[in-house]
């Protein structure tokens, strides 16, 4: 039994490492896409648009690992929660990869126009989204509920910046119709970054469930968890 458990633990560690690798890749692609927009670097954006394959490969491989672990080891309790969390985090990270592509595509269109304004809040949103993603993955590896909760708290910052960007660009569009097209692309980029933050939030929620068995989804941040009697 002990040998079987050790084998299972090794498989579980390998699963975590692969998820971490995928998370690092997704985070890097968000960074390159946002820098591509702010630096007006078309080549970098093109590289993001055409380079989604490694993340997709991770997606399939990690799902496969999870299915095998579930089928062969029939895990219980913390092990079961870890694998269920891994399946969900895998999907979130794959979506982050797709959103990086969406940022790059909108950025590429944006580069065809003169700059609407100096970009300040978009890189700020990019930084916050990357930080949330990084912290959520750190929390996953370190089983750190406190760090995961801090990620949840940051989501409001991202939402606030998205609203701010929209209002600001609205004034530009009202003043000069020539800015409508590029401004809409910036609004789209801010929306994609906000969605990346949502996926990081999902990861953080999964970490909290994985570690403490508390389901904190669909609740105000400070609300008590409902699935465990006191």
């Amino acid at each position: 039994m002990e040998r079987v458990v050790r084998h299972f633990q090794e498989e579980l560690e390998a699963l975590k490492e692969r998820l971490l690798g995928m998370g690092g890749l997704a985070e890097e692609r968000v960074r390159v896409a946002v820098n591509g927009v702010t630096d007006r670097d078309g080549e970098a954006l093109h590289a993001v648009m055409t380079g989604d394959e490694p993340i997709n490969d991770f997606h399939i491989e990690i799902d496969d690992r999870c299915f095998k672990l579930l089928a062969l080891h029939q895990p219980m309790a913390a092990d079961l929660r870890t694998i269920v969390a891994a399946v969900k985090i895998n999907t979130d990270l794959e979506r982050v990869g797709d959103l990086a592509v969406n940022v790059a595509e909108a950025g590429k269109r944006y580069l065809q126009h003169p700059p609407v304004k100096p970009l300040i809040d978009i890189p700020r949103m990019g930084n916050i989204a990357q930080e949330m993603l990084r912290d959520a993955l750190d929390a996953f590896v370190r089983r750190d509920v406190g760090l995961a909760e801090a990620v949840l708290a940051k989501d409001d910052d991202l939402d606030g910046l998205k609203t701010q960007i929209f209002r600001e660009l609205l004034t530009f569009m009202l003043q000069d119709t020539a800015t409508i097209e590029p401004a809409l692309d910036l609004i789209l980029i801010s929306r994609h970054l906000e969605r990346i933050g949502d996926h990081a939030t999902n990861v953080a929620e999964d970490v909290i469930f994985m570690v403490s068995a508390r389901d904190v989804r669909h609740q105000p941040f400070d609300a008590p968890s409902h699935n465990r009697p006191a």
Partner: protein, 277 residues
């Protein structure tokens, strides 16, 4: 009366969690309170307090020697037949102490039937295996009534269709899975209220095991079932509540889905994830 050392999980906590786990209108069928059990000088059970609910399946899990089978056997006093054993504390069946000196043990075992790990049909015909208990208890007045009760029991145990054309054949000619279902039919024939099952599928192949599990699912509509199993997946599949035993103590008792997804005790977590035991 009380155990020398307190159980790992206190009575109030266990009772509270069990109460939360059961539907509010599910009455308690069996209640053990600070039950100790001794084989000679050796204490095998240490302060077990638990409330088992009517018409639910309660699974006992834990490593070999943890006391789960011993505790199961205290519920219908099957341990009485083992010399030099001793019980402290109470076991209530519908509020009445089963260890009261005035209790008729035979009548108790009629109410609390038992199915064992190894199927143990009598070396008689299939029919006679089921009819035996009815006859000695005078529970069938006519031959027609006896036939009806035997058929009803075999149907309840989901074996009638397989044996209806050979009821006079020896029960020993049946397969292991069929023998076990015959033993369940035999236990059901005298219409018990509670069915205790001590690893009823541990010697069976996966198909026969599945049939027993389906049977348990059907039987709980009529009976209160307590099952000891080494197979945690089986406990997870068939039971509503699960009790985890360790070194003669009840460590945790909760809804089965909680025990197997988010147990409260670290020891339970370690056991169900295979890290101890």
């Amino acid at each position: 009366m009380n155990s020398a050392s307190p159980p790992l999980t206190s009575l109030s906590r266990v009772a509270g969690r069990a109460a939360a786990a059961a539907p509010p209108d599910t009455p308690v069928k069996i209640e053990a309170d600070r039950l100790n059990f001794y084989y000679g000088p050796k204490r095998a059970l240490d302060g077990i307090s638990i409330r088992i609910r009517t018409n639910l399946v309660t699974a006992f899990i834990g490593p070999s020697g943890c006391g789960k089978s011993t505790f199961l056997r205290t519920l219908n006093r099957m341990n009485d037949i083992i010399p030099a054993t001793r019980v402290e504390g109470t076991v209530l069946l519908d509020g009445k102490d089963v260890y009261d000196p005035h209790v008729d043990v035979v009548a108790l075992r009629r109410r609390v039937g038992m199915v064992f790990q190894k199927s143990n049909p009598f070396p008689k015909s299939i029919f006679e295996n089921v009819a035996y208990g009815l006859r000695i208890n005078g529970m069938a007045r006519t031959r027609a009534e006896l036939n009806d009760r035997v058929e009803e029991s075999l149907r309840q145990a989901a074996i009638f269709e397989e044996v209806k054309d050979r009821l006079n054949d020896s029960a020993l000619a049946l397969s292991g899975g069929q023998q076990q279902r015959l033993c369940i039919a035999r236990a059901l024939a005298i219409r018990p209220e509670v069915l205790l099952m001590d690893e009823p599928a541990s010697a069976l192949d996966p198909i026969a095991t599945q049939r027993i599990e389906e049977l348990i699912y059907d039987l709980k509509k009529t009976y209160t079932i307590v099952i000891v199993t080494h197979n945690m997946q089986q406990a997870a599949r068939v039971s509503d509540h699960t009790a985890f035993f360790w070194l003669g103590r009840l460590v945790e008792y909760d809804r089965t889905d909680r025990i197997f997804t988010a147990p409260a005790e670290k020891l339970t977590e370690d056991y169900v994830t295979g890290r101890c035991g």
